[in-house]
Protein backbone atom coordinates (compact mmCIF):
# COMPACT_ATOMS: atom_id res chain seq x y z
CA UNK A 1 0.00 0.00 0.00
CA UNK A 2 1.33 3.41 -1.01
CA UNK A 3 -0.22 6.47 0.62
CA UNK A 4 0.49 9.93 -0.68
CA UNK A 5 -0.92 12.86 1.25
CA UNK A 6 -0.84 16.54 0.26
CA UNK A 7 2.50 15.92 -1.43
CA UNK A 8 4.11 19.06 -2.84
CA UNK A 9 7.47 19.64 -4.48
CA UNK A 10 8.69 23.06 -5.52
CA UNK A 11 11.83 23.85 -7.47
CA UNK A 12 12.27 27.60 -7.08
CA UNK A 13 8.96 29.13 -8.15
CA UNK A 14 8.03 26.12 -10.25
CA UNK A 15 5.65 23.70 -8.57
CA UNK A 16 6.34 20.24 -9.97
CA UNK A 17 3.87 18.42 -7.71
CA UNK A 18 0.98 20.29 -6.14
CA UNK A 19 -0.85 18.96 -3.06
CA UNK A 20 -1.18 15.47 -4.47
CA UNK A 21 -3.09 12.84 -2.47
CA UNK A 22 -3.89 9.27 -3.50
CA UNK A 23 -3.69 5.69 -2.29
CA UNK A 24 -2.36 2.69 -4.19
CA UNK A 25 -3.80 -0.58 -2.90
CA UNK A 26 -2.34 -4.08 -2.89
CA UNK A 27 -3.63 -6.85 -5.14
CA UNK A 28 -4.18 -4.54 -8.09
CA UNK A 29 -2.19 -2.98 -10.87
CA UNK A 30 -2.48 0.79 -10.55
CA UNK A 31 -1.51 2.94 -13.48
CA UNK A 32 0.01 6.37 -12.93
CA UNK A 33 -0.78 8.52 -15.91
CA UNK A 34 -0.01 12.01 -17.01
CA UNK A 35 1.43 13.91 -19.95
CA UNK A 36 5.19 14.48 -20.11
CA UNK A 37 6.31 16.84 -17.38
CA UNK A 38 3.18 16.23 -15.26
CA UNK A 39 5.26 15.31 -12.22
CA UNK A 40 5.03 11.50 -12.33
CA UNK A 41 8.72 10.81 -11.91
CA UNK A 42 9.08 13.49 -9.22
CA UNK A 43 6.23 11.84 -7.30
CA UNK A 44 7.80 8.38 -7.62
CA UNK A 45 11.12 9.79 -6.42
CA UNK A 46 9.47 11.33 -3.37
CA UNK A 47 7.74 8.02 -2.55
CA UNK A 48 11.18 6.38 -2.77
CA UNK A 49 12.74 9.01 -0.53
CA UNK A 50 15.18 10.12 -3.22
CA UNK A 51 13.75 13.65 -3.20
CA UNK A 52 12.46 15.31 -0.05
CA UNK A 53 8.95 16.75 -0.45
CA UNK A 54 8.55 20.50 0.13
CA UNK A 55 5.43 19.64 2.14
CA UNK A 56 3.24 16.57 2.59
CA UNK A 57 4.07 12.92 3.12
CA UNK A 58 4.44 9.69 1.21
CA UNK A 59 4.49 6.33 2.97
CA UNK A 60 4.88 2.74 1.87
CA UNK A 61 3.02 0.31 4.12
CA UNK A 62 2.73 3.08 6.68
CA UNK A 63 6.41 3.97 6.84
CA UNK A 64 8.31 6.69 4.93
CA UNK A 65 10.57 4.62 2.70
CA UNK A 66 13.68 6.54 3.77
CA UNK A 67 13.33 5.20 7.31
CA UNK A 68 14.32 1.71 6.18
CA UNK A 69 18.07 1.16 6.43
CA UNK A 70 17.84 -1.35 3.54
CA UNK A 71 15.18 -1.06 0.88
CA UNK A 72 15.02 -4.00 -1.52
CA UNK A 73 12.83 -6.21 0.68
CA UNK A 74 10.29 -3.41 1.11
CA UNK A 75 10.02 -1.85 -2.34
CA UNK A 76 11.30 -2.89 -5.74
CA UNK A 77 11.61 -0.03 -8.17
CA UNK A 78 12.60 0.61 -11.75
CA UNK A 79 12.96 4.34 -12.30
CA UNK A 80 15.16 4.51 -15.36
CA UNK A 81 16.71 1.51 -17.08
CA UNK A 82 19.82 3.58 -17.79
CA UNK A 83 20.68 3.87 -14.10
CA UNK A 84 23.34 1.16 -14.24
CA UNK A 85 27.10 1.10 -14.80
CA UNK A 86 27.79 0.01 -18.38
CA UNK A 87 31.11 -1.60 -17.43
CA UNK A 88 29.62 -4.23 -15.14
CA UNK A 89 27.97 -7.49 -16.12
CA UNK A 90 24.27 -7.95 -15.34
CA UNK A 91 25.15 -10.62 -12.78
CA UNK A 92 27.75 -8.42 -11.03
CA UNK A 93 25.35 -5.47 -10.93
CA UNK A 94 22.64 -7.57 -9.28
CA UNK A 95 25.10 -9.39 -7.02
CA UNK A 96 26.36 -6.09 -5.57
CA UNK A 97 22.79 -4.90 -4.93
CA UNK A 98 21.78 -8.25 -3.41
CA UNK A 99 24.83 -8.27 -1.16
CA UNK A 100 24.11 -4.78 0.19
CA UNK A 101 20.71 -6.01 1.40
CA UNK A 102 21.85 -9.41 2.67
CA UNK A 103 19.92 -11.17 -0.10
CA UNK A 104 21.30 -14.63 -0.93
CA UNK A 105 23.36 -14.82 -4.12
CA UNK A 106 21.06 -17.45 -5.67
CA UNK A 107 18.35 -14.78 -6.10
CA UNK A 108 20.52 -13.18 -8.80
CA UNK A 109 20.31 -16.25 -11.04
CA UNK A 110 16.61 -16.63 -10.21
CA UNK A 111 15.60 -13.10 -11.22
CA UNK A 112 17.80 -13.18 -14.32
CA UNK A 113 16.02 -16.40 -15.32
CA UNK A 114 12.67 -14.80 -14.54
CA UNK A 115 13.25 -11.81 -16.83
CA UNK A 116 14.84 -13.90 -19.58
CA UNK A 117 18.38 -12.58 -19.23
CA UNK A 118 20.01 -15.81 -18.00
CA UNK A 119 22.02 -16.09 -21.24
CA UNK A 120 23.25 -12.51 -20.96
CA UNK A 121 24.14 -12.70 -17.26
CA UNK A 122 27.87 -12.29 -17.79
CA UNK A 123 27.75 -9.74 -20.59
CA UNK A 124 28.55 -6.06 -19.97
CA UNK A 125 25.42 -3.98 -19.48
CA UNK A 126 26.91 -1.33 -21.77
CA UNK A 127 26.16 -3.62 -24.71
CA UNK A 128 22.51 -4.19 -23.78
CA UNK A 129 19.60 -2.87 -25.84
CA UNK A 130 17.07 -0.62 -24.10
CA UNK A 131 14.65 -3.55 -23.89
CA UNK A 132 17.30 -5.69 -22.19
CA UNK A 133 18.10 -2.88 -19.76
CA UNK A 134 14.39 -2.64 -18.93
CA UNK A 135 14.41 -6.36 -18.17
CA UNK A 136 17.47 -5.90 -15.98
CA UNK A 137 15.70 -3.04 -14.19
CA UNK A 138 12.70 -5.31 -13.57
CA UNK A 139 15.07 -8.01 -12.29
CA UNK A 140 16.50 -5.43 -9.87
CA UNK A 141 13.01 -4.61 -8.63
CA UNK A 142 12.21 -8.30 -8.09
CA UNK A 143 15.49 -9.07 -6.31
CA UNK A 144 14.22 -8.59 -2.75
CA UNK A 145 10.82 -10.25 -3.40
CA UNK A 146 9.15 -7.03 -2.14
CA UNK A 147 5.45 -6.48 -1.37
CA UNK A 148 5.43 -3.16 -3.26
CA UNK A 149 6.70 -2.63 -6.80
CA UNK A 150 7.03 0.61 -8.73
CA UNK A 151 7.93 0.96 -12.39
CA UNK A 152 8.49 4.20 -14.31
CA UNK A 153 7.68 3.75 -18.02
CA UNK A 154 8.61 0.06 -18.02
CA UNK A 155 7.47 -0.63 -21.59
CA UNK A 156 9.87 1.83 -23.28
CA UNK A 157 12.11 0.11 -25.76
CA UNK A 158 10.55 -3.33 -25.39
CA UNK A 159 9.65 -5.50 -28.35
CA UNK A 160 6.07 -6.81 -28.69
CA UNK A 161 6.99 -10.11 -27.06
CA UNK A 162 8.55 -8.19 -24.17
CA UNK A 163 5.46 -6.00 -23.79
CA UNK A 164 3.23 -9.08 -23.56
CA UNK A 165 5.56 -10.70 -21.06
CA UNK A 166 5.72 -7.61 -18.87
CA UNK A 167 1.92 -7.27 -18.84
CA UNK A 168 1.54 -10.87 -17.70
CA UNK A 169 4.21 -10.28 -15.06
CA UNK A 170 2.44 -7.22 -13.64
CA UNK A 171 -0.87 -9.08 -13.51
CA UNK A 172 0.78 -12.01 -11.76
CA UNK A 173 2.55 -9.80 -9.21
CA UNK A 174 -0.76 -8.12 -8.37
CA UNK A 175 -2.52 -11.50 -8.15
CA UNK A 176 0.09 -12.52 -5.58
CA UNK A 177 -1.22 -9.70 -3.39
CA UNK A 178 1.51 -7.18 -4.10
CA UNK A 179 1.04 -3.48 -4.72
CA UNK A 180 1.98 -2.75 -8.33
CA UNK A 181 2.28 0.91 -9.35
CA UNK A 182 3.38 1.75 -12.86
CA UNK A 183 3.68 5.08 -14.58
CA UNK A 184 3.20 5.78 -18.25
CA UNK A 185 2.32 8.61 -20.57
CA UNK A 186 0.70 6.06 -22.89
CA UNK A 187 -2.95 5.60 -22.08
CA UNK A 188 -3.30 2.62 -24.41
CA UNK A 189 -0.78 0.75 -22.29
CA UNK A 190 -2.93 1.12 -19.18
CA UNK A 191 -6.02 -0.10 -20.98
CA UNK A 192 -4.41 -3.52 -21.19
CA UNK A 193 -2.68 -3.72 -17.86
CA UNK A 194 -4.16 -1.60 -15.09
CA UNK A 195 -7.20 -2.04 -12.83
CA UNK A 196 -6.98 1.36 -11.21
CA UNK A 197 -5.74 4.70 -12.45
CA UNK A 198 -4.18 7.73 -10.86
CA UNK A 199 -4.15 10.53 -13.44
CA UNK A 200 -2.25 13.76 -12.90
CA UNK A 201 -1.60 16.87 -14.95
CA UNK A 202 0.72 19.75 -14.06
CA UNK A 203 1.39 18.14 -10.70
CA UNK A 204 -2.25 18.00 -9.60
CA UNK A 205 -4.60 15.07 -9.31
CA UNK A 206 -7.11 14.78 -12.15
CA UNK A 207 -8.63 11.40 -11.36
CA UNK A 208 -8.12 8.41 -9.08
CA UNK A 209 -10.58 5.66 -9.99
CA UNK A 210 -10.98 2.38 -11.84
CA UNK A 211 -10.04 2.18 -15.49
CA UNK A 212 -13.67 1.55 -16.44
CA UNK A 213 -15.00 4.60 -14.57
CA UNK A 214 -12.31 6.74 -16.06
CA UNK A 215 -13.10 5.69 -19.62
CA UNK A 216 -16.82 6.19 -19.09
CA UNK A 217 -16.53 9.76 -17.95
CA UNK A 218 -14.39 10.77 -20.89
CA UNK A 219 -15.67 11.39 -24.39
CA UNK A 220 -19.39 10.98 -24.93
CA UNK A 221 -20.36 8.10 -27.12
CA UNK A 222 -19.85 8.85 -30.76
CA UNK A 223 -21.59 7.33 -33.81
CA UNK A 224 -19.95 7.21 -37.19
CA UNK A 225 -22.27 7.44 -40.21
CA UNK A 226 -21.41 6.94 -43.85
CA UNK A 227 -23.95 8.28 -46.34
CA UNK A 228 -24.01 9.60 -49.91
CA UNK A 229 -26.27 12.45 -48.67
CA UNK A 230 -23.96 13.82 -46.01
CA UNK A 231 -25.08 17.44 -46.21
CA UNK A 232 -28.77 16.62 -45.85
CA UNK A 233 -28.20 14.19 -42.98
CA UNK A 234 -25.95 16.68 -41.20
CA UNK A 235 -28.72 19.29 -41.36
CA UNK A 236 -31.33 16.84 -40.00
CA UNK A 237 -29.12 15.65 -37.15
CA UNK A 238 -28.02 19.16 -36.19
CA UNK A 239 -31.64 20.28 -35.90
CA UNK A 240 -32.24 17.22 -33.69
CA UNK A 241 -29.56 18.48 -31.32
CA UNK A 242 -26.48 16.48 -32.35
CA UNK A 243 -23.08 17.89 -33.05
CA UNK A 244 -21.35 16.77 -36.21
CA UNK A 245 -17.78 16.43 -37.26
CA UNK A 246 -16.82 15.53 -40.80
CA UNK A 247 -14.26 12.78 -41.22
CA UNK A 248 -12.55 11.07 -44.10
CA UNK A 249 -11.84 12.29 -47.61
CA UNK A 250 -14.25 13.63 -50.21
CA UNK A 251 -16.23 10.82 -51.83
CA UNK A 252 -15.85 8.58 -48.81
CA UNK A 253 -16.99 11.17 -46.33
CA UNK A 254 -18.25 10.12 -42.92
CA UNK A 255 -19.97 12.01 -40.17
CA UNK A 256 -18.92 11.60 -36.54
CA UNK A 257 -22.08 12.29 -34.54
CA UNK A 258 -22.15 12.96 -30.85
CA UNK A 259 -25.27 13.64 -28.82
CA UNK A 260 -27.59 11.10 -30.46
CA UNK A 261 -27.66 7.31 -30.13
CA UNK A 262 -27.34 5.10 -33.21
CA UNK A 263 -31.01 3.96 -33.25
CA UNK A 264 -32.22 7.58 -33.19
CA UNK A 265 -29.90 8.49 -36.06
CA UNK A 266 -31.19 5.50 -38.06
CA UNK A 267 -34.79 6.50 -37.41
CA UNK A 268 -34.18 10.12 -38.42
CA UNK A 269 -32.47 9.02 -41.62
CA UNK A 270 -35.37 6.67 -42.44
CA UNK A 271 -37.98 9.40 -41.83
CA UNK A 272 -36.11 11.76 -44.13
CA UNK A 273 -35.46 9.08 -46.80
CA UNK A 274 -31.69 9.38 -46.46
CA UNK A 275 -29.66 6.36 -47.43
CA UNK A 276 -27.15 5.07 -44.87
CA UNK A 277 -24.15 2.98 -45.93
CA UNK A 278 -22.71 2.51 -42.49
CA UNK A 279 -23.74 3.18 -38.90
CA UNK A 280 -21.18 2.38 -36.20
CA UNK A 281 -21.07 3.20 -32.52
CA UNK A 282 -17.56 4.12 -31.48
CA UNK A 283 -17.00 3.42 -27.81
CA UNK A 284 -15.08 6.02 -25.90
CA UNK A 285 -11.49 4.99 -25.71
CA UNK A 286 -9.37 5.51 -22.66
CA UNK A 287 -7.01 7.42 -24.91
CA UNK A 288 -9.74 9.93 -25.75
CA UNK A 289 -10.79 10.27 -22.13
CA UNK A 290 -7.20 10.89 -21.18
CA UNK A 291 -6.62 13.46 -23.91
CA UNK A 292 -9.80 15.30 -23.02
CA UNK A 293 -9.06 15.43 -19.30
CA UNK A 294 -5.45 16.41 -19.59
CA UNK A 295 -5.89 18.87 -22.46
CA UNK A 296 -5.82 21.81 -20.05
CA UNK A 297 -2.85 20.54 -18.17
CA UNK A 298 -0.41 19.54 -20.86
CA UNK A 299 2.95 21.05 -20.12
CA UNK A 300 4.44 21.06 -23.60
CA UNK A 301 2.04 21.35 -26.54
CA UNK A 302 3.54 21.05 -30.00
CA UNK A 303 3.36 24.31 -31.92
CA UNK A 304 2.47 26.31 -28.85
CA UNK A 305 4.51 29.47 -28.34
CA UNK A 306 6.60 29.06 -25.23
Amino acid sequence: MIEVSELTKQYGDKTAVDRLSFTVRPGQVTGFLGPNGAGKTTTLRMILGLDAPTTGTATVNGVPFRHHPRGLRHVGALLDAGQVHGGRSAAAHLAALARSNGIPRRRVAEVLQEVGLAEAANRRIGGFSLGMKQRLGIATALLGDPPVLMFDEPINGMDPEGVRWVRRLFRRLAAEGRTVFLSSHLMSEMENTADQLVVIGRGSLIAAESVRDFAARGTRRCVVVATPQATELAAVLTSAGASIEREGSAGAEKLAVTGLPADRIGALAFENRIQLDELTTRTASLEAAFMELTADSTEYLAGQPR
Binding site: P26, D51, A52, G62, P69, R70, L79, G87
Partner: protein, 274 residues
Amino acid sequence: MTTLTSVPRSAPVDAPPVRFRDLLASEWLKMRSLRSTPWTIALTVLFVLGSTAVATLADKAAGSGPADFRPFDAYPPAGYWTLILVASSMGALTVVSEYSSGLIRTTTVAVPARGSVVLAKAAVTAALWTAIGTAVSTGCFLVSQALVNGRHAGVPITHPGVFRPLVATALLAPVCALVGLGLGVLLRHAAATMITSVFVLLMLPTMFSDSNRWSADIKHAMVSAAWNRLIENWEPDPHSLGYSATVPGSWVVYVLWPLITVALAVFVVRRRDV
Protein backbone atom coordinates in the same frame (compact mmCIF):
# COMPACT_ATOMS: atom_id res chain seq x y z
CA MET B 1 -11.39 -1.32 17.25
CA THR B 2 -9.29 -4.31 18.00
CA THR B 3 -5.55 -4.62 18.11
CA LEU B 4 -5.71 -8.07 16.56
CA THR B 5 -6.41 -6.88 12.99
CA SER B 6 -3.80 -8.13 10.59
CA VAL B 7 -1.31 -5.49 9.55
CA PRO B 8 -0.24 -5.33 5.91
CA ARG B 9 3.07 -7.10 5.57
CA SER B 10 5.80 -4.50 5.55
CA ALA B 11 8.72 -6.90 5.27
CA PRO B 12 9.09 -10.63 5.02
CA VAL B 13 9.91 -12.17 8.37
CA ASP B 14 13.12 -13.74 7.14
CA ALA B 15 14.81 -10.35 6.64
CA PRO B 16 18.34 -10.63 8.02
CA PRO B 17 19.82 -8.09 10.43
CA VAL B 18 21.13 -4.87 8.92
CA ARG B 19 24.90 -5.21 8.73
CA PHE B 20 27.48 -2.66 7.67
CA ARG B 21 29.77 -5.40 6.43
CA ASP B 22 27.18 -6.32 3.80
CA LEU B 23 27.65 -2.81 2.41
CA LEU B 24 31.44 -3.24 2.51
CA ALA B 25 31.13 -6.52 0.61
CA SER B 26 28.78 -4.88 -1.89
CA GLU B 27 31.11 -1.95 -2.55
CA TRP B 28 34.08 -4.28 -2.88
CA LEU B 29 32.11 -6.33 -5.43
CA LYS B 30 31.35 -3.15 -7.37
CA MET B 31 34.99 -2.11 -7.27
CA ARG B 32 36.43 -5.38 -8.51
CA SER B 33 33.75 -6.05 -11.10
CA LEU B 34 35.04 -3.17 -13.24
CA ARG B 35 37.69 -4.25 -15.70
CA SER B 36 39.31 -0.81 -15.64
CA THR B 37 40.21 -1.06 -11.92
CA PRO B 38 43.04 -3.66 -12.12
CA TRP B 39 44.41 -2.16 -15.34
CA THR B 40 44.61 1.37 -13.99
CA ILE B 41 46.22 0.16 -10.78
CA ALA B 42 48.78 -2.03 -12.58
CA LEU B 43 49.82 0.74 -14.99
CA THR B 44 50.10 3.29 -12.18
CA VAL B 45 52.24 0.99 -10.03
CA LEU B 46 54.55 0.29 -12.98
CA PHE B 47 54.86 3.98 -13.76
CA VAL B 48 55.72 4.96 -10.19
CA LEU B 49 58.30 2.14 -9.89
CA GLY B 50 59.79 3.28 -13.21
CA SER B 51 60.02 6.87 -12.02
CA THR B 52 61.95 5.66 -8.98
CA ALA B 53 64.37 3.74 -11.17
CA VAL B 54 64.94 6.76 -13.41
CA ALA B 55 65.42 9.16 -10.47
CA THR B 56 67.87 6.81 -8.74
CA LEU B 57 69.90 6.14 -11.86
CA ALA B 58 70.09 9.84 -12.67
CA ASP B 59 71.23 10.79 -9.15
CA LYS B 60 75.02 10.97 -9.55
CA ALA B 61 75.51 11.84 -5.87
CA ALA B 62 74.00 8.55 -4.71
CA GLY B 63 76.72 6.22 -3.63
CA SER B 64 79.49 8.84 -3.66
CA GLY B 65 79.25 9.61 0.05
CA PRO B 66 78.58 7.34 3.01
CA ALA B 67 75.67 4.92 2.54
CA ASP B 68 72.43 6.62 3.53
CA PHE B 69 68.80 6.53 2.49
CA ARG B 70 68.01 9.25 -0.04
CA PRO B 71 64.21 9.58 0.00
CA PHE B 72 63.91 11.67 -3.17
CA ASP B 73 65.53 8.85 -5.15
CA ALA B 74 63.11 6.26 -3.84
CA TYR B 75 60.13 8.61 -3.84
CA PRO B 76 60.59 11.09 -6.68
CA PRO B 77 57.92 13.83 -6.95
CA ALA B 78 57.19 13.07 -10.62
CA GLY B 79 56.12 9.53 -9.85
CA TYR B 80 54.17 10.44 -6.76
CA TRP B 81 52.34 13.37 -8.34
CA THR B 82 51.05 10.77 -10.77
CA LEU B 83 50.05 8.54 -7.86
CA ILE B 84 48.23 11.49 -6.24
CA LEU B 85 46.45 12.18 -9.53
CA VAL B 86 45.40 8.56 -10.10
CA ALA B 87 44.42 7.82 -6.49
CA SER B 88 42.29 10.96 -6.17
CA SER B 89 40.64 10.36 -9.56
CA MET B 90 39.90 6.72 -8.81
CA GLY B 91 38.55 7.64 -5.39
CA ALA B 92 36.33 10.26 -7.01
CA LEU B 93 35.18 7.84 -9.72
CA THR B 94 33.73 5.39 -7.20
CA VAL B 95 31.00 7.97 -6.53
CA VAL B 96 31.05 10.21 -9.61
CA SER B 97 30.45 7.25 -11.93
CA GLU B 98 27.31 6.47 -9.92
CA TYR B 99 26.10 10.05 -10.19
CA SER B 100 26.80 10.37 -13.92
CA SER B 101 25.08 7.09 -14.83
CA GLY B 102 22.22 7.52 -12.37
CA LEU B 103 23.23 4.27 -10.65
CA ILE B 104 23.24 6.27 -7.41
CA ARG B 105 19.42 6.22 -7.48
CA THR B 106 19.35 2.45 -7.84
CA THR B 107 21.88 2.24 -5.00
CA THR B 108 19.87 4.63 -2.80
CA VAL B 109 16.62 2.71 -3.33
CA ALA B 110 18.48 -0.45 -2.32
CA VAL B 111 20.13 1.26 0.65
CA PRO B 112 18.16 4.32 1.82
CA ALA B 113 20.78 4.90 4.57
CA ARG B 114 22.84 7.17 2.34
CA GLY B 115 25.50 8.07 4.88
CA SER B 116 26.30 4.37 5.34
CA VAL B 117 26.82 3.99 1.58
CA VAL B 118 29.36 6.83 1.55
CA LEU B 119 31.14 5.38 4.59
CA ALA B 120 31.24 1.91 3.03
CA LYS B 121 32.68 3.32 -0.18
CA ALA B 122 35.24 5.30 1.86
CA ALA B 123 36.25 2.23 3.87
CA VAL B 124 36.71 0.07 0.77
CA THR B 125 38.59 2.85 -1.05
CA ALA B 126 40.85 3.43 1.97
CA ALA B 127 41.63 -0.29 2.30
CA LEU B 128 42.34 -0.78 -1.42
CA TRP B 129 44.58 2.29 -1.70
CA THR B 130 46.43 1.55 1.53
CA ALA B 131 47.29 -1.84 0.07
CA ILE B 132 48.38 -0.30 -3.23
CA GLY B 133 50.26 2.49 -1.44
CA THR B 134 52.12 0.00 0.74
CA ALA B 135 53.05 -2.13 -2.26
CA VAL B 136 54.24 0.89 -4.24
CA SER B 137 56.12 2.43 -1.33
CA THR B 138 57.90 -0.80 -0.45
CA GLY B 139 58.50 -1.61 -4.10
CA CYS B 140 60.05 1.79 -4.76
CA PHE B 141 62.31 1.44 -1.76
CA LEU B 142 63.51 -1.96 -2.96
CA VAL B 143 64.02 -0.80 -6.55
CA SER B 144 66.02 2.25 -5.54
CA GLN B 145 68.18 0.31 -3.07
CA ALA B 146 68.76 -2.50 -5.57
CA LEU B 147 70.05 0.09 -8.04
CA VAL B 148 72.34 1.90 -5.58
CA ASN B 149 73.53 -1.47 -4.31
CA GLY B 150 75.40 -1.69 -7.58
CA ARG B 151 77.38 1.27 -6.27
CA HIS B 152 77.63 -0.31 -2.81
CA ALA B 153 75.43 2.39 -1.26
CA GLY B 154 72.24 0.45 -0.55
CA VAL B 155 70.64 0.38 2.88
CA PRO B 156 68.35 -2.25 4.38
CA ILE B 157 64.69 -1.47 5.16
CA THR B 158 65.59 -1.39 8.86
CA HIS B 159 68.04 1.48 8.31
CA PRO B 160 67.32 4.56 10.48
CA GLY B 161 65.33 7.18 8.60
CA VAL B 162 63.64 4.71 6.26
CA PHE B 163 60.51 3.80 8.12
CA ARG B 164 58.75 7.19 8.29
CA PRO B 165 59.19 8.01 4.56
CA LEU B 166 58.00 4.51 3.72
CA VAL B 167 54.83 4.81 5.82
CA ALA B 168 54.09 8.39 4.78
CA THR B 169 54.39 7.39 1.14
CA ALA B 170 52.21 4.32 1.61
CA LEU B 171 49.48 6.48 3.21
CA LEU B 172 49.66 9.20 0.56
CA ALA B 173 47.52 7.05 -1.78
CA PRO B 174 44.55 6.44 0.59
CA VAL B 175 44.64 10.07 1.81
CA CYS B 176 44.31 11.34 -1.77
CA ALA B 177 41.75 8.68 -2.74
CA LEU B 178 39.53 9.67 0.18
CA VAL B 179 39.84 13.38 -0.60
CA GLY B 180 38.82 12.59 -4.18
CA LEU B 181 35.87 10.50 -2.96
CA GLY B 182 34.66 13.23 -0.61
CA LEU B 183 34.93 15.88 -3.33
CA GLY B 184 33.15 13.53 -5.73
CA VAL B 185 30.12 13.29 -3.45
CA LEU B 186 30.12 17.06 -2.92
CA LEU B 187 30.49 18.02 -6.60
CA ARG B 188 28.95 14.99 -8.39
CA HIS B 189 30.24 16.02 -11.84
CA ALA B 190 33.22 14.13 -13.21
CA ALA B 191 35.10 17.07 -14.76
CA ALA B 192 34.46 19.42 -11.85
CA THR B 193 35.65 16.80 -9.35
CA MET B 194 38.83 15.94 -11.29
CA ILE B 195 39.78 19.59 -11.76
CA THR B 196 39.09 20.42 -8.11
CA SER B 197 41.08 17.48 -6.74
CA VAL B 198 44.04 18.16 -9.02
CA PHE B 199 43.85 21.82 -8.03
CA VAL B 200 43.75 21.33 -4.26
CA LEU B 201 46.14 18.37 -4.14
CA LEU B 202 48.72 19.36 -6.77
CA MET B 203 48.41 22.94 -8.03
CA LEU B 204 47.44 24.90 -4.94
CA PRO B 205 50.52 23.98 -2.83
CA THR B 206 52.83 25.37 -5.54
CA MET B 207 51.17 28.80 -5.21
CA PHE B 208 52.57 29.25 -1.71
CA SER B 209 56.19 29.44 -0.64
CA ASP B 210 58.11 28.76 2.57
CA SER B 211 59.51 32.29 2.75
CA ASN B 212 56.53 34.03 4.42
CA ARG B 213 54.95 32.90 7.66
CA TRP B 214 51.33 33.04 6.40
CA SER B 215 52.19 31.64 3.00
CA ALA B 216 54.16 28.83 4.59
CA ASP B 217 51.28 28.05 6.95
CA ILE B 218 48.88 27.61 4.06
CA LYS B 219 51.36 25.51 2.13
CA HIS B 220 52.06 23.25 5.11
CA ALA B 221 48.35 22.58 5.47
CA MET B 222 48.40 20.88 2.03
CA VAL B 223 48.65 17.13 1.53
CA SER B 224 51.58 17.15 -0.90
CA ALA B 225 53.61 19.52 1.33
CA ALA B 226 52.90 17.28 4.31
CA TRP B 227 54.13 14.26 2.35
CA ASN B 228 57.25 16.19 1.36
CA ARG B 229 58.02 16.98 4.99
CA LEU B 230 57.31 13.45 6.21
CA ILE B 231 59.70 11.78 3.78
CA GLU B 232 62.55 14.19 4.64
CA ASN B 233 64.58 12.10 7.03
CA TRP B 234 66.76 15.00 8.16
CA GLU B 235 66.12 17.88 10.51
CA PRO B 236 65.48 21.24 8.87
CA ASP B 237 68.50 23.57 8.81
CA PRO B 238 68.01 25.96 11.75
CA HIS B 239 69.71 28.78 9.77
CA SER B 240 67.41 28.36 6.80
CA LEU B 241 65.51 31.48 5.71
CA GLY B 242 62.38 29.44 4.91
CA TYR B 243 59.82 28.21 7.41
CA SER B 244 59.62 24.47 7.77
CA ALA B 245 56.60 22.30 8.50
CA THR B 246 56.65 20.16 11.63
CA VAL B 247 56.39 16.38 11.50
CA PRO B 248 53.42 16.10 13.91
CA GLY B 249 51.69 18.93 12.04
CA SER B 250 52.16 17.08 8.78
CA TRP B 251 50.60 13.91 10.22
CA VAL B 252 47.64 16.02 11.36
CA VAL B 253 47.27 17.30 7.80
CA TYR B 254 47.25 13.68 6.60
CA VAL B 255 44.38 12.90 8.98
CA LEU B 256 42.31 16.07 8.61
CA TRP B 257 42.01 16.26 4.81
CA PRO B 258 40.28 12.90 4.31
CA LEU B 259 38.37 13.22 7.58
CA ILE B 260 36.89 16.61 6.72
CA THR B 261 36.04 15.84 3.08
CA VAL B 262 34.40 12.49 3.91
CA ALA B 263 32.53 13.97 6.92
CA LEU B 264 31.23 16.81 4.72
CA ALA B 265 30.21 14.26 2.10
CA VAL B 266 28.22 12.21 4.63
CA PHE B 267 26.60 15.37 6.00
CA VAL B 268 25.60 16.69 2.56
CA VAL B 269 24.45 13.39 1.05
CA ARG B 270 21.87 12.93 3.80
CA ARG B 271 20.33 16.33 3.19
CA ARG B 272 20.35 16.58 -0.56
CA ASP B 273 17.96 15.15 -3.15
CA VAL B 274 19.59 12.26 -4.98
